[in-house]
Amino acid sequence: MLRFKPRLPRILSSFGTRLLSLACVLFGVSLITFTMTYFAPGDKASAIAHARYPDVQAFPPEILAGIREEFSLNEPFFIQYFQWLARFVQGDFGNSFASNASVWDIFVANIVETLSLTSTALVVGLVSAFALSAVAVWRPGSLSDRMAVALASIGAAMPNYWLGLLLILLFAAQLNWLPAYGTGSPAHLVLPAITLAFWITASQTRLLRAFFLEAKSAPYVETLRLRGVSEAEIFWRHILRHAAVPALTMIGLDVASLLEGTVIVELTFARGGIGSLLAGSVLSRDYPMILFLVMFSALVYVFINSMIELFQDILDPRKSLLVSQKSELSKEART
């Protein structure tokens, strides 16, 4: 009774504060994103005109003036910003300058590639990270432990596009086993997924190893050991379970790095997807597309992080203190 009663209002009030600060952050995110494109050099009206009439080289000033009127480009900054925000909130993301197709349609067509790459890499990477760190903590300080730590250190320092290039060099250029660039068959997925998965494995092995070690030296494990429970059972039934919750939280926090890694891997392997879409839109100054993609990545990050924080609060308010302190660190130490 005593344990339960004071918890509910605390969660509710912390939920309220979270929601308020979430609203602030979302507002800030949209403001920063819009400012970035608003102050970009170059004439936006002629960019729109070129997208509309691809065959025309030069435009008479009347047409440009008409476009400025239509897209309210003459209005002051804040008017333009709120107009854009109002449309964005309603789900109207505008049309791409480059193809004049709806931004949302282009995004949907591209997200499939990204999701298939990310999910494959995530599964492979996490499974090998769990396996590797489990082997590592079996005998701390042993050869396998040191190998796992070395792999994690090298993986953290390894530029993932370079790993991608090396894989292409070996498996596509020299051995001719797998296709190097492009999308299409499942074979095209292998090298990019390995590249991304390696990075996931490296970054998570180090964390998981630390969590496992911490759990292994906890007093309750010592008690189990004294009771004569076998090491294998301690690991599978107790340590794994206790390390899993904080470990999964940490993995969730790395979503920003995952998005970054996806961009790099997609561009290295010339795959379709959100990353190459972003790079292409940035180079062609396709502002509606840029605005949407940058907002999207920020929203994904904010959303996942708020979910994790909420989850921690509900699961265990005492633990949330400890984990959020550690997760701060992982944010600081994001690769």
Binding site: G28, A157, L283
Partner: protein, 292 residues
């Protein structure tokens, strides 16, 4: 790391503390010396090299590693070893500059958030959170790309996306320190708050800041070479490691050494800075759960 290291240092005796400080300062001196030596060696290396980084030699194009060209030559016959040394000054030096600016700006913002009342704190931290919401590389690609891909815009973009970590760390540490006895004592003694920040808060934040800074430094090297490789940073023919990889990508089949050496250089630089950072963290007593 922060709170736990605070707790750890509280339990230490004075003698241990001075030993600790001696260890730390000795180690810091060594790091400083090592970095200086590496930078000078790289700079001197490419000055001493018989080749210029951008000097073409069309008779020796794409030649494999040999006695005259240790790491081979690229598609224009430029000496890869010379370009690597020259590129190292760019990669490591630019990353140093970017992280220093980010650390100073972030520290200023974090201190301001921690010390000028609740309204300032909430405002500054929500701004920091908003900037934090953008994945670093995506924001950097966008900023550098929209402004026009070149070195200056890349540096600008990386500074814009890199200061938040410092602001968060400094704020949380300084809020924590503000409740410690010696700071309260200083305040009761009537010290002006600027002096408290400078004499009492900042020196105690220093070691943690340094660990974060080495971490940021190595990751910025990765970001610089990554952006350059993607075409959003240092542009070829300038010899930066990522730009060299981009340059050599087309000759992967005939001249694989163009792929190998720049990547190894990045790996070595980042790995060595990470090792320094790890050692530093051990020295100031972290909890070991941080990733790189």
């Amino acid at each position: 790391m922060t709170l736990l290291s605070e707790a750890g240092s509280l339990e230490e005796t004075d003698i241990q503390k001075t030993e600790h400080a001696k260890d730390l300062s000795r180690f810091l001196a060594r790091i400083g010396a090592a970095i200086l030596i590496i930078l000078i060696a790289a700079a001197a290396g490419f000055l001493l090299s018989p080749y210029a980084p951008n000097e073409p030699d069309f008779l020796a194009r794409l030649s494999p590693p040999s006695k005259t060209h240790w790491f081979g030559t690229d598609q224009l016959g430029r000496d890869v070893a010379t370009r690597l040394l020259y590129g190292g000054v760019w990669s490591i030096g630019l990353a140093l500059l970017i992280t220093l600016v980010g650390a100073i700006a972030g520290t200023a913002i974090g201190l301001a958030a921690g010390h000028f009342g609740r309204a300032t704190d909430v405002t500054l931290m929500r701004v920091t959170d908003s900037f934090f919401a953008f994945p670093e590389l995506i924001a950097a690609v966008t900023i550098a790309g929209v402004l026009g891909p070149n070195t200056v815009n890349m540096v600008l973009a990386l500074i814009l996306v890199g200061w938040m970590k410092f602001a968060r760390l400094v704020r949380s540490l300084s809020v924590d320190l503000a409740h410690r006895d010696f700071v309260i004592q200083a305040r009761l003694n009537g010290l002006p708050s600027g002096r408290i920040l400078w004499r009492h808060i900042l020196p105690n934040i220093g070691p943690n800041l340094l660990v974060l800074w080495t971490n940021a430094w190595s990751r910025t090297i990765l970001s610089i070479s990554g952006l350059s490789f993607l075409g959003f940073g240092v542009q070829p023919p300038n010899a930066e490691w990522g730009a060299m990889l981009l340059d050599g990508k087309a000759y992967m089949q005939t001249a694989p050494h163009l792929m190998i050496f720049p990547g190894l250089a990045i790996l070595a630089a980042v790995l060595s800075i990470n090792f320094v950072g790890d050692r530093l963290r051990d020295l100031i007593g972290g909890n070991g759960v941080t990733a790189n």
